[in-house]
Symmetry: C2
Subunit: 461 residues, 2 copies
């Protein structure tokens, strides 16, 4: 009889623990994130032991090796590298720039080459500078006013936009397409105001494209700091004849071998349904890429760690993907989707964190109305954790190529106010990431993954 | 006829501009905050030109003079200083501490005196150390174990508490009452783990009280950094015979004259109804008091600036109050309430910002159910600005003494995750305040003031 009672008790305990409510499961996830997380230590290593991880660099490879090792140590069901060829662009020696308002009267300007730009001639490039506020201004000014000039794109991010990402979207065409467009009017180079809401002395790099412009038509493109942009603009109002000098030494090499880093926990009941969580392992080279996107990588790794820590056994396969080359090519995201399609894998949900490691505010969803209704029903579960934004919108660049009608794509939405102070600049560094904020983001992601795993994705049923 | 049309047009324009919707008014307030705010420049001056503003210090007086001058320049209807006597406690020469695990084997410890503590003897204080986790532990250990010892209070803030203020409340009794309680058991001094969720090397000061303990029974009290607390705790597990040495040179002086700084815009229709917005001008002395509470002061000043900038003419009197001596005495808050009562002033609403200059998340309200329902009806107006927390709770220490049943008291609730990294420590400095986050807080406060002014406070009708 005693034995029966003993086993009965054991059974009850097991049954009770198996019946954890969603509230309890989320509490366990958040508690684990705030007390046992590995995310901050991982980020410390990525940022301070490795540093900036530009595609094709030694550091990018070190990051592949390091994160694979860390995933191996989590005891996942499978960890592997997915080969992908990536572009290799190198900044070379530090850039240098000044403007000359009167002969011999020069002011140095903080500058950095845009990613993918060509170099200036060896001795640098010097020309008169013409300020514009948009790509459309080029046609208005025309070849007569632009030929032989350096075009200065100076439309600032709109500070009244509460979403700094929207303010960024409203400006970034200058950086991305400015050189290709200005070259059509005979400009010899472009400089662009850094995509930064703050007035400071740091130039912010970022990707740009020459489109289909022939190689011999390509002109060098660089970003200058916001303070320098304001100073140059004011100086041009006083004296339109200012000349600008810059020298940069960047170079594009042949593509090189690199990898997406992938790990998974196999689902217990429907392992063929795959849910992806990820960030991108590459970064720009000026800082150490802590917010963009070291944070998203370690949070994604942490999601699997937290699910294990909280004792949850997913029904579906949960896969972490650290994508290579988001910044200047998206090769990793494209390769992952290509392989998934060729293997006929069934992806039902993908979640990306690529908006910085700040306090999470919610998620944006790229999905059907039906799925969005499902997601909103979970909102009250997140209220104790101050997660309040469930909106429709962009998910993430790396998971975008996976998109189909059946899937839900989502992006973590952290507080965005500080993000562009650091984005693609030398101050995107570890000390600007707060440990708790990073961990709360990881917990929010793990909670969403848990809910999609438990209840399934409606359209995918 | 032309003249008639002209005046008619003028009338229509005026009428239309007078009929601004709440949505438009809030948009104007937020736009002005993000483009024309003076708050960040004011904070720069308070933090970098003046610095820490301990009650009774020269810097506190400089801050009084500076902020009065700035309010004068805003063109308010009235600006004045309200005299208040404040305690004057001085840290003296830097503190020094170590623990000795074996004779001659010492480890230096980052330490700071708690505000209001007595000094150690001139040559310092050395005694064996006993670790406890709570005030209750003292009775369990008793006089036998505590007499002649230094008590080490080491209960950490609970990292799983999403509200870091709640985690702080759960620990701060050790700092506030630890010395008074330990002295009853014959302890010769206390050290307390800093109120900080982060592991680092910065000690965090803060106020403490000896209660009714006779002056000759008072024992010195200090905080040590979280890293040092962990190291000492581990060392005590290895060797319970560790002795701790510390020397501090702080001193309490006689009360000195100081001031609350007050400015107001007179109401157009019911000027006798007063709405207060404020923060506290004093700070601790280790940092420059940027988050605690320089931010709250400049945001409160900015509220009046924003209302003027947006062209809003309040019906009620809007008063900014920069309270003196919140940190170690609350004399300014008490004095303000005392004067208000003696003058039979009718305060209908008071709002305090004293939780740091981080991204605003909402407000807490100390008010009747009826008023809380009114407030919640405004929530949708704040959604575009990502203000989502309207909760009942604590408002602010300085406005607390004003409380009566007719009023609404409120506190700004910014994101709290980073706050205790800086609170009362040497790193509460200007560079940790983000301009936009500060401005968004000011705009949120101005918007709430606007709504209460326009619709009135129900209970006060």
């Amino acid at each position: 009889m005693k034995k029966v009672i003993y086993f009965l008790s054991l059974f009850i305990i097991t049954a009770v623990s198996a019946q954890k409510t969603d509230e309890e499961q989320l509490k366990d996830i958040y508690d684990a994130a705030l007390t046992k997380s590995k995310a901050y230590d991982w980020l410390n290593y990525l940022s301070n032991q490795i540093g900036g991880r530009l595609s094709g660099s030694v550091q990018a490879q070190q990051a592949v090796d390091y994160t694979k090792l860390q995933l191996d140590e989590l005891g996942l069901d499978k960890v592997w590298l997915q080969p992908v060829m990536v572009p290799k662009w190198n900044r070379g020696l530090p850039e240098f720039a000044y403007f000359e308002s009167d002969p011999g009267v020069t002011t140095n300007v903080p500058i950095c080459a845009l990613g993918g730009s060509v170099a200036t001639p060896l001795g640098g490039l010097k020309a008169n500078v013409v300020e514009v506020k948009s790509l459309d201004d080029l046609a208005i000014l025309g070849k007569q006013r632009l030929e032989g000039r350096i075009v200065f794109f100076n439309r600032p991010m709109d500070p009244t936009n509460i979403s700094t990402f929207d303010a960024y979207s409203g400006c970034v065409d200058q950086r991305y397409a400015g050189a290709a467009e200005a070259a059509k009017y005979g400009a010899v180079g472009i400089i662009v105001r850094s995509m930064n809401l703050r007035l400071d002395d740091l130039p912010h790099t970022g990707t740009m494209s020459y489109g289909d412009l022939a190689i011999n038509k390509r002109i060098p493109a660089a970003a200058i700091s916001t303070n320098a942009a304001d100073l140059l603009s004011l100086s041009l109002r006083l004296n339109p004849d200012i000349s600008f000098y810059f020298k940069q030494n960047c170079e594009q090499f042949d593509d090189v071998q690199s990898y997406n880093v992938i790990g998974e926990i196999k689902g217990t009941t429907t392992p063929e349904e795959i849910m992806v969580v990820g960030g991108h392992l590459d970064s720009w080279d000026l800082g150490d890429g802590s917010h963009d996107d070291g944070a998203g990588c370690v949070q994604s790794m942490e999601v699997l760690h937290l699910l294990k820590e909280s004792g949850y056994k997913p029904k579906r396969t949960i896969r972490v993907v650290l994508f290579m080359n988001e910044e200047n090519g998206l090769r990793g995201g494209n390769k992952y989707a290509e392989v998934a399609k060729s293997k006929k894998e069934k992806h039902v949900f993908a979640l990306e964190s690529d908006s910085g490691g700040f306090t999470p505010r919610g998620f944006s969803f790229d999905c059907s109305e039906e799925n969005f209704i499902q997601v909103q029903s979970w909102k009250p579960l997140f209220e104790p954790y101050l997660i309040h934004m469930f909106v429709k919108g962009h998910s993430g660049a790396d998971i975008g190529p996976l998109k189909d009608d059946q899937m839900v794509l989502a992006g973590l939405r952290p507080d965005s106010q500080r993000y562009f102070d650091h984005h693609h600049a030398a101050n995107d560094t570890f000390e600007h990431v707060n440990k708790r904020e990073l961990e709360l983001g990881a917990a929010s992601m793990a909670s969403l993954i848990y809910l999609f795993d438990k209840y399934g994705v409606i359209a995918a049923k």
